[in-house]
Amino acid sequence: MKKERTIMPVQHPEIRNKNFLEVALGLNLGLAKIEASRCLDCKNPRCVPACPVSIDIPAFIKNINEENIEEAYFTIYKSNILPAICGRVCPQEKQCERACILAIKSESVSIGALERFVGDYALEHELKIEECILENNIKVAIVGSGPAGISAAASLRRLGYSVDVYEALHEFGGVLKYGIPDFRLPKDIVDLEIEKATNMGVHFHKNIIIGKSITIDQLFDEYGYKSIFLGNGAGLPKSLGVPGENLTGVYFANEFLTRVNLMKARDFPNTPTPVRIGQNVAVVGGGNVAIDAARTAKRLGAKNVFILYRRDMDALPARLEEVHHAIEEGIDFRLLLNPVEFSGENYSVKEVKCEIMELGEPDSSGRRRPMPTGKYKTFKIDSSIISIGQSPNPILKSATPNLETDSRGRIVVNDYQTSIPGVFAGGDVVSGAATVILAMGAGKEAAVEMDNYIKNNN
C-alpha cells in the first residue's frame, strides 16, 4: 500500500491566479484507484459517523477499487445527491478524513477527492437513477434552494411528497451560486447537480421571496402545503462597526462575491454588472469567504491582496486546502491585526488602520484570544472586503412575527421544528453561517421530522 495520499493535479499558481477556471483538476481513474487502494475497509469505519450525511464511505471506495464507478455513485447518491459539489467544498480534513484510521500514523485516505471523482464521473457519463417514488400527493414547500433546501427537498421527494422549492434569486443554488467562486466550484456543476433533484420530480420556482411574494400563512392556507422547510440561509453580512465602513470602496464580501459570481462581473462589459477593486485590497477575516474574496480580487487583477486577521495562522477557520492555494497564489496573510478605522478622501476609502494584537489565554472557542496592544499600523488601500461572517436573512423574520429567533437572528428550533407548527428549519438560518455539508445534513434530518409531523397531524 502507498503510504502517502495521492496528490490531485492543480493549475499552476501563476496561471490560475489570473483565471477563474477550477484550481484543482480532479483525479483520473488510475489515480483514483491508487488512492482507493489505500482504504483499509475497516470493520467499524470511523469515517461514516464523521460524515454529516453518513455516506457509506468504505463501500463506495471499494466500488472504485473494483472499477465499478457507477455503483460507487449509487452508493453515495443514497446519502448525498450532490457528490460533485461536496467532494469539492466539504472541509473533509475536519470530518471524514480526520476520523480515518490511517491519519493516526500517516495520511488519511483522500476521501473528498474520491467523492469528487465519482461525482464528476456521474456527470460526465450522465448517470441517472430512476428511483421508484410512491406518490402520496401531500404538498410540502421548501424555502431556499441552497444546500439545506436541496437536501430536504430530495429527502422529502423520496418519501413520496410533492415538493416545491422557492428561491428568491434568479438562479438556483443559494450560496453555491452567489458565494463560492467558480475556481472552487464551477457553476455548471452546480446546475447539473441540482438537475438531479429536478429529475427526481422536485419543482423549483425562482424569483419568489417567501414572506413577501407569498407569506407563510398563504403557503398553508391558499396553497395547501402541509409542512414547510425554511432553508433560507445566512446572507446578512456582519459589519465591523468601525468608523469609515460606509466609504465607497469598502465592500461586504457578499456584495463583492455576488457581483463576480452570480452577476458574472468578471466578464464586464460582456456582462452588464461591473465590479471595481483597484490595486491594493485588504480583505478582513479568516474564514472561507475571506479566502474566496481575496483570491477573487487577485484574479480580477489586484496587485497586492492581503488578509487582515486578528488571530494567527493556526486559528484560521478556512478550509486548509484553500489557505494553501491562496498562499501559492500570492495572497499575503497579515496576522494579529484588527481593523479599527477606514479613512479616505471625498468618501472614497484610502487607508485602513489596524490595531496590533497579541495572543492571550484560550477563549471559549479553544483558540488563544487576541488581545489589543494599543499599537497601530496603517495600510494604504484602494478597496477593502469585509468578510467576518453572515447572520440569517432578515426578510422572512420581519414578515413573520410569530417565527421565534434568537438575539443573533437565528431561527429557534427544537428537532428542526420552529415556533410555528408545521414549519421546520435547518442549515445556516438556524446555525449561523457554517458549511455546505452541515446544511445538507440538517435538511436531510429535518425531512424525517417533517414526515413524522405530517403523519401525526393528518
Binding site: K212, P237, S239, Y251, N254
Partner: protein, 272 residues
Amino acid sequence: MYRIKHKEILNVDVELMIVEAPFVAKNAQPGNFLIVRVDESGERIPLTIVENNETDVTIVYQKLGYSTTLLSKKQIGEELFDVVGPLGKSSHIRDVKCVLGIAGGVGAAPLFPQLKEYANQGIIVDLVIGGRTKEHLILVEKYKEFCRNIYYATDDGSFGTKGFVTQVAEELYQTTTYDLSIAIGPLIMMKNCVALNKKYNVLTDVSLNPIMIDGTGMCGNCRVTINNKTFFACVDGPDFPADGIDFEELMSKQQYYKEEESHICRMKLGKE
C-alpha cells in the same frame, strides 16, 4: 410569465410599462419595489411598484444607463427575463393632516403610490412637481385624480415656475401649513428639500434608490448612513425619515461605477 401588457412613452427619457407578475403584484403595498432583469445575463434593476392590481405591476424607468436602455427596447407582448418582489418596507403612513409631495423628474414615479395612499386615507395632499422641461413632468394626469393642488417647476420655464421645486415649495410655505413633506427625486434635490423643510419646521420623508444587487438584505451595497447608524435601503427602506441622512455619502456611492457605466454604454450602445 413577466409579459409586457402595456407600454407608454412618457417623454424622451422616461417610459412606463405594465408587466404581468402575479407573485409581485398580489402582496404589493405602497412603497414596495421590485427588481427586473431584462435578459439572461441582465443586471438587477430596482424599480418602484407605481401601481398594481392582483396580477400586474406598473413600473416607470428612465433610460439612463445601459440596462434601462435595454429595458426600453422591449415591446408590448414580449417578456422580461426576471421580475421579483415585492421588496422593501411598505410606506409608513404618518398621522398627519396635510402633506406636500415634492417630485423631481422621474421621482414622480416612486412618490405616486405613497402620496396616493395618504389621499386614500383622507389626508389632504398637494404636489410640487418639477422637471427639465414641460415634457419631463410625468404622471400629472394621474396625480390630478387625488391631489388638491399641483404646482409646477421646470428648468427652462416651459411650464410653471422657471426654477427648482424648492423655490416653489418655499413660496407655498409662506401661505400654507404642511405637517409632512415627502420629497423624492435626485439626491441633491432631496438634500435641498430637507434643508428647506427644516427651516420651515416641516417633517421630511424621502425614498432612496442606491445601487443594489439582490434587494433582499444580502449584499449591503445599498447601505445608508443616518445619524451615524447604518441602514440597508432594500430592507430597512427604501423610505426613510430624512433627518440625519448623509446625502453626500450617497452621492459619492452613486458615482462609484460611473466610468464603467459610460464605458459599456459607449461600447454597446454607441452613446455617451
